[in-house]
């Protein structure tokens, strides 16, 4: 029925396979590592995204550190409260969650397609990193958003959308994992912790150029006039290195930003969308 060579080949490979399988089986029984069952259980609860938002390289590493007590059970950022509770159940712990605050990626540039002032034309790969590396970016402002959307592509949660040449962060989808912060070659995006009940306000500029220089490059840049320091809520705005920055830990729901927003001569203090009401209670 079969040629002898077929039978010989088949039995040779089968024999070799069985031999090595036996050896490996034996080695496995001798070298077996007992893994903490809690680690597997926690890893099953985790979303398995390996996003790194917790500070560990992946979900497995986090599970290990949570099980050994080196990381708190609510370390998983995208998992949120639900996952934290489940993990705490496994470990027999209580979650100490800090309600009312949220971490978000905040984009510190406000120049959209209409406002952007270009120098020359860039014809390379549609990527901010490439543009920045090869030409230093073809935007007049060395701090501004190039708008090629590297951050939107880097976001593992599709929370960033490019609208009129500027990234728009969806506060409901953003988990503050920091991928976009890593990716942006100009460090425009930062992770900030905001009060859910308060206004969502940011300084939409990242330029450390002097006021007059900013005026030449952009109409909506911060010129470091210091009006926000005087008009805004106490100790929230501070002008340093020719740029107004906000200290988000110093404001709460009562802080009134109307004056600061109104008085800013270039309009670079802006409100941005906060998460939907229903997600707050979830």
């Amino acid at each position: 029925m079969f040629e002898p060579v077929v039978i010989i080949s088949a039995s040779t490979m089968a024999g070799l396979g069985l031999l090595f399988a036996g050896l490996l089986g034996f080695a496995h029984s001798k070298l077996k590592v007992e893994e903490n069952p809690e680690v597997t259980e926690i890893e099953d609860i985790l979303p398995g995204l390996d996003c790194g938002a917790c500070g560990y390289p992946g979900c497995h590493q986090l599970a290990k550190n949570v099980a050994s007590g080196d990381a708190p059970p609510d370390s998983c950022v995208p998992g949120g409260e639900e996952v934290a509770k489940k993990i705490a159940d496994v470990l027999g712990m209580e979650v100490s969650s800090e309600p009312g605050r949220i971490r978000l990626a905040v984009v510190h540039c406000g120049a959209d397609d209409e406002e952007k002032q270009w120098v020359g034309q860039y014809e390379g790969v549609e990527s901010c990193r490439t543009a920045e590396l090869t030409t230093g970016g073809n935007l007049k402002c060395e701090y501004g958003c190039l708008g090629y959307g590297d951050c939107a592509r880097a976001c593992p949660f599709d929370a960033i959308e490019m609208v009129d040449g500027l990234p728009r962060v969806d506060p409901d989808a953003c988990t503050a994992c920091g991928e976009c912060v890593e990716t942006c070659p100009r460090d425009i995006i930062a992770i900030e912790e905001l009060d859910l009940a308060g206004d969502f306000v940011k300084v939409a500029c990242n330029s450390e150029d002097e006021g007059s220089a900013v005026r030449n490059k952009c109409d909506v840049g911060c010129i470091a006039c210091g009006l926000c320091e005087k008009m805004g809520p106490d100790e929230v705005f501070s002008v340093e290195d020719n740029l107004s920055r906000m200290d988000y830990s110093n404001y709460d729901e009562e802080a009134d930003f109307e004056m600061a927003i109104d008085k800013c001569p270039t309009g670079c203090i802006v409100e941005f969308p906060s998460p939907e009401e229903d997600s707050e209670t979830a």
Binding site: V5, S9, T12, L16, F20, L23, A27, K32, V33, L133
Partner: protein, 192 residues
């Protein structure tokens, strides 16, 4: 004397990584840290030596004896995969830190073309048992040497102010090329 030549040839003049360009993936992937590079080198040396010994026996006493030499690829891969599995179990149990450092590159030894290349060269050159064993061990030593030198250079490079466009993979490939060039200087050391 012949054994010595085989050893020197495979370590220096015909280094698997720098002469044949085999096994580049771990060479570039694990050479950013000295510790990981050395561990990877030792693990690969272990796999290579045993591969040489076992595949020689399989080739001589089974494949040639039954006239089924065409099974060499599949049976050699079987040997390599089993050995890698063994090394992985061993490291996971006794050196978990090294296991974490090597990460994905450890199972990738299975498809490291330097290892399969070694087994195939051995058959091609019709080495006897002792020659094969030395060839396998030497290949591992050569691989480790290349990896460790590379890790050393990359360690130094971390301190340097490299022009932006060259950072990362670009400078690594440049260094690898220059290193291969440097190893060309050894040619002529062994009479061919």
């Amino acid at each position: 004397m012949e054994f010595f030549f085989i050893f020197v040839a495979i370590v220096l003049t015909q280094n698997f990584v720098l002469h044949y360009f085999l096994g580049i993936c771990p060479f570039l992937g694990v050479s950013d840290e000295m510790e990981g590079a050395f561990g990877m080198g030792i693990a690969t040396t272990f796999v290579m030596t045993l591969t040489a010994i076992i595949t020689w026996n399989i080739n001589t006493f089974i494949l040639k004896a039954f006239n089924v030499e065409f099974l060499e690829y599949v049976s050699f891969i079987l040997v390599i995969a089993s050995l890698v599995q063994l090394v992985e179990m061993f490291l996971k149990k006794y050196l978990p830190e090294l296991y974490e450092t090597l990460g994905i590159y450890l199972p990738l030894i299975t498809t490291n073309c330097a290892v399969l290349g070694l087994a195939l060269f051995m058959v091609l050159r019709e080495y006897n048992f002792l020659e094969s064993a030395i060839f396998g061990f030497g290949a591992g030593v050569g691989f480790t040497l290349a990896l460790v030198i590379m890790a050393g250079i990359r360690g130094e490079l971390n301190e340097e102010d490299i022009p932006k466009p060259f950072r990362g993979t670009a400078i690594t490939l440049l260094v690898a090329g220059l290193l291969a060039l440097a190893f060309m200087g050894f040619s002529g050391l062994v009479p061919t």
